[in-house]
Symmetry: C2
Subunit: 350 residues, 2 copies
């Protein structure tokens, strides 16, 4: 059998190589650079093909495809969300993604995205907070201390200069895990025994819980003036974290309204309730925070463009490193019309 | 660094391994078994999640995602269509696909699908013809002798008992290539210098041309009574192969009407023009061929369920063979909530 040509290979980044790549750059540097890459793509938002993600829902979870394109590159992410997976020792969310050339349709990168999604979600939150949080915020409450909590904490440190995180989870073991992982990060970490306690002195609150149901992680009385709320959990229909009264007191910022109205906190509000698109704040077409007393809410659900930015960033950063394998994933016959000939010759004794 | 656990691995079939697998089984056996697998899934058609493919169109081509699920397994295919690729020595169509467990969202197979799509397209055509072509058909005209032509010829031999193919292409080199590839197949192969000549004595005509434009490969006068037309080329909006008058004389059978009305030959007809769904013929809910003089047309565009059947078939056939590699594509921390801990530990000197 003739070995495949160079065109047949797709660069692949495994989980192990993704972790090596992140450490070779440094986690905080990656978070900072990802926030920049995502912000840059938000400034050219109108250039992208945008569509709500394509979900396949079952009783126990959802499998989603999230494609987008800027006309030059095309990217998509496969991601599942299965809250009950943890009971069987599996991840709630796993993901992989692909980047391809629009001009030929040929893939240029296949990569794990479980680790990468955790990084890009945190980077997006911190980038949004840079535009929305009160100036000089140093303390963040983190409600929900699962898989995303440390990434959020580090991203807010790296991008925003947060110095202290105050942790709370209904499961104290989750809080202990988060505190342990953040030891040595340079953040002051305080473990709290209630959401109320976690909120003390915080200018920012991040909610990242994962149950697939309507929940009220924050109630109205807990949110004082001037707070920035980074609501990250709640990314499917029927799942929210905030009491509706909080939404009514907040100025609400979203990624892509058609998707957020289905999946975000604002599914509790009328369909025409006014929200601001984050990209318009970034480009100066809309106002972000305008006063110290204003409550700002980033109703983040995760959008395909953020994955696109992450794929493109990793593609640039990983090429010419040892962290890439070559996968023989694209058939490449000598004569493109002769796929059958390639198959036939593969059967000949060589 | 601790090696990834078994849960982290996704079985992967490369192009080379797909070709090895096909030869270890035998191409005609694969085509027969694929036709059976696809027919079986067509009998349980109502069980599947169905949606028109999600396409990202550009001036030069299209990149598509084609997902479906039967509630137990979820599958999707990534496929591009770039007719101008051949000029740069690239494939017009390349594809890969993934099968995952609905209950957990975890992938169970990643595989090349360029070769596999060629096989499933031919198997679907032959399966449809088994229900629609005149009894005892022995001769097939093949108009368009590109990458799909040999697969169609062999599938009709394996599934339907076709003994002779009559080839025509506007490019004689394509016909010569197809004839060369089919030498030794057991088929009688006749190279023709016009479509008219190719049609002589044929009970079935397969059209598989690939230009992205309205074309008229077959005109009305070429189609006599009793013919079965297997129209495979023309799988995007704006691309058709048959003159409208042929459609008006035929009974038309399709895979999934909402997709075929956009992409198939019937985009030339009013939106409510009656067509029959192939799965209903297979289950006996609708009639297929009812007379020897009837003209039947399978307006095949390729549907996600056929890819699902092919993915499932290959998954069953390839496991426990040497034709599978293990890809470290899914992050699998010891504690599913501790993705960050897994990443951190990967950075420690080991």
């Amino acid at each position: 059998m003739t070995p495949p040509s160079d065109l047949a290979y797709v660069p692949f980044i495994s989980v192990e190589n993704m972790m090596r790549l992140v450490h070779s750059i440094g986690i905080e540097t990656v978070l900072r650079e990802l926030a920049e890459a995502i912000e840059h793509d938000f400034t050219r938002w109108p250039m992208f093909d945008k569509t709500p993600r394509l979900g396949s829902h079952s009783d126990v979870g959802v499998i989603e495809l999230m494609p987008t394109s800027d006309g030059d590159l095309y990217g998509f992410k496969y991601v599942n969300g299965h809250p009950s997976n943890t009971k069987q020792g599996l991840q709630t969310v796993t993901a992989f993604g692909l980047l391809a050339q629009v001009s030929s349709g040929y893939p240029v990168l296949l990569t794990e995205m479980t680790v990468l999604t955790a990084l890009r979600t945190a980077a997006t939150s911190a980038m949004a907070a840079r535009h929305l949080a009160p100036k000089g915020a140093k303390t963040m409450a983190v409600i929900g201390n699962g898989a995303q909590s440390e990434f959020q904490s580090l991203a807010f440190k790296a991008v925003l200069g947060i110095e202290q995180v105050r942790l709370y989870d209904i499961d104290p073991a989750a809080t202990a895990k988060c505190a342990r992982n953040l030891a040595g990060s340079g953040l002051k970490v305080t473990s709290c025994s209630s959401s109320q306690e976690a909120m003390e002195g915080a200018q920012i609150v991040t909610t990242c819980t994962a149950d697939k149901q309507y929940a009220t992680i924050l109630t109205d009385n807990m949110i004082g003036d001037g707070i920035h709320i980074n609501a990250i959990g709640g990314d499917c229909p029927g799942k929210t974290e905030l009491h509706k009264d909080i939404l009514l007191r907040s100025d609400i910022f979203v990624e892509y309204p058609p998707q957020t109205r289905i999946e975000g906190e604002i599914q509790q509000l009328p369909e025409d309730y006014p929200v601001t698109e984050l990209w318009q704040v970034i480009t100066g077409q809309a106002e972000g925070r305008t006063s110290a007393s204003q409550i700002t809410l980033f109703d983040g659900v995760g959008f395909a463009i953020e994955d696109f930015s992450a794929l493109k960033y990793v593609h640039q950063r990983a090429l010419n490193t040892g962290h890439v394998q070559q996968l023989d994933m694209i058939a490449d016959p000598d004569d493109p019309r002769d796929l059958f000939g390639m198959l036939s010759r593969a059967g000949e004794p060589g």
